[in-house]
Symmetry: C2
Subunit: 369 residues, 2 copies
Amino acid sequence: MLRGTSMNDVYAVILAGGSGTRFWPASRRAMPKQLLPLAPGSNAPLIGETVRRIAPLVPQDNVVIATGQSLIDGTRNALPELAPSAFLAEPAARNTAPCIGWAASVIHRRNPNAVVMVLPSDHHIADEPGFRAVLEAALESARRGTITTVGIEPTRPDTGYGYIELGESVGPNVRRGVRFVEKPDRARAEEYVQSGRFVWNSGMFFFRAADMLQAIREHLPALADGLDHIEAAAKKGADHEQEETLRLFPQLPSVSIDVGVMEKVKAFHVVPGSFGWSDLGSWETAWDLSDKDAAGNVANELGVVVDARNNLLMDLRHDGKKRVMAAVGVEDLCIIETDDALLVIPRSRCQDVRAVVEALKEKGHDHAL
Amino acid sequence: MLRGTSMNDVYAVILAGGSGTRFWPASRRAMPKQLLPLAPGSNAPLIGETVRRIAPLVPQDNVVIATGQSLIDGTRNALPELAPSAFLAEPAARNTAPCIGWAASVIHRRNPNAVVMVLPSDHHIADEPGFRAVLEAALESARRGTITTVGIEPTRPDTGYGYIELGESVGPNVRRGVRFVEKPDRARAEEYVQSGRFVWNSGMFFFRAADMLQAIREHLPALADGLDHIEAAAKKGADHEQEETLRLFPQLPSVSIDVGVMEKVKAFHVVPGSFGWSDLGSWETAWDLSDKDAAGNVANELGVVVDARNNLLMDLRHDGKKRVMAAVGVEDLCIIETDDALLVIPRSRCQDVRAVVEALKEKGHDHAL
């Protein structure tokens, strides 16, 4: 596996604090995207798929789930195989730098030699062996002392992602990282894709825990101070640690790891990869990734489509009753059922699901948020 | 009220044997259209609205509901105000002539002076006082000894209805009937409407019970024979009557009252009327008749429409739970929810609901039929 590093030193931090409305009515305040079974062909929640996927690389006891206080119960339920100690509940949402810094600090106390991979909890990966090969290359790069990220080889000039510019090669399939760039406009995105020197920012990071803590000390000293205080409290016992975490965490600087650390470090590496990655951004993506019938429809066995094309019929109800979903003479629609809501929206409008959530707020239907 | 006739002599026969698939998923084998609350602004089933509408004209004890054996329980549940004896359950479906003949015979035994109105159970009437005025004119015409029907003044060259040609005037708003014509083609329908001499066949009939029985004896002797046998058995007691009805009814000639009697009688009268009539032929009609918001959408308070126009959102579930129905960026759709099915179909395609029912049969989903 990893040359020179015991697999026991490999840790994973799964970022599972996200909330979001793009998968309403399935996604809710208490049921964010990562807890939903949105992966094509799977009944497991996305976070369960994420943990399963990396099992060959990381001992189960070394998996850490970073989530929010309000999501802790739902997240534990989604991952019954993990011990309670696997879950870090952030007392407040402070973006990714405090979250990753805290996790790195906790892991470093457990194992000073730890090599950590940080992964989003809610993405889809079609080519899992290819994905794991990329992770291994990134871990190996991190083990050698350089913070490393994975870059997705772009398949279109998407303006919804951040990009990373690649520099010279520093090893087999490892490039020096030149810079992070925020979501570009269309013209610039096209330029990036044509150049062949840019990849999408995957939100995956790889580092020795000690290296990340050192980088935070250099570039986010206020965060380093906070983590030091929590560490000092931890040495006095678990109660002290918890108390100090609750007190300090909400005061930590709210900044992303990209902006707070990655854009400032002297050097970082990028492992470019192409493994059927999708961030599952909307119902449109869910249709896109799913197996379809000859007319382009996605439906379960109780879905009935008559003279209808390219629709997504999704029944996410939980009461176990048989229900028919019938679509006649319609095209390019997403039709989504949950226990307490129905959504009908054109595939091309899926980004506008937010508007429904806003309308529900205005109407006072908080039960459906 | 009726000159020369006591209101106690007025009877109503409500035809409630219909089944049909045009309102799937709401309409089912055991829940045909007349049992559904499809009247705009009402939670009562259509048959309940029908009975309520004629209450000023007919004593409640004189209302007879003719329905099928398999629908008897559901029909009674829909009309709890009526006595059990009000319901005639046809042992077999033999079209309208045996049904109306049987009802006329039963009523004639109760009251030899009975004047009967026969009404469909599943229509909608917007102008109820106007409707009742037309019924009174038709009853008056019937009381004078001529079988009478009501004709709907056509508002468009509809090819889905039968037409009746009007002859000379024989009284205030009463015309001699010239002939019944089956559903015409488009050109002929346009001709009919332009002529001003044609009305739509409403399926409403008015007659003295004795006159209808006499007409059946002349034009459908086999039916008259059967009814005679049932009458003879009735004289021996209720058990005999029931036994003979069960035995004979399935053998009666299966023919409509239009073809078997009305097209053959020497004379019939027509009262033309215009009272906001609709036969509620499909979900499209339900949308058409309903109150709409400024964008043309029909929805309940848990309906959320965003940038959507001219849609019908209908929640016919019965479990009492609050559920949101959201439509974003769609136009001209009917979206219908029941406890065990969902239908999404363009308004213009509502006649194709049958295709869903066929598809369900093929797939073996009999529970949803």
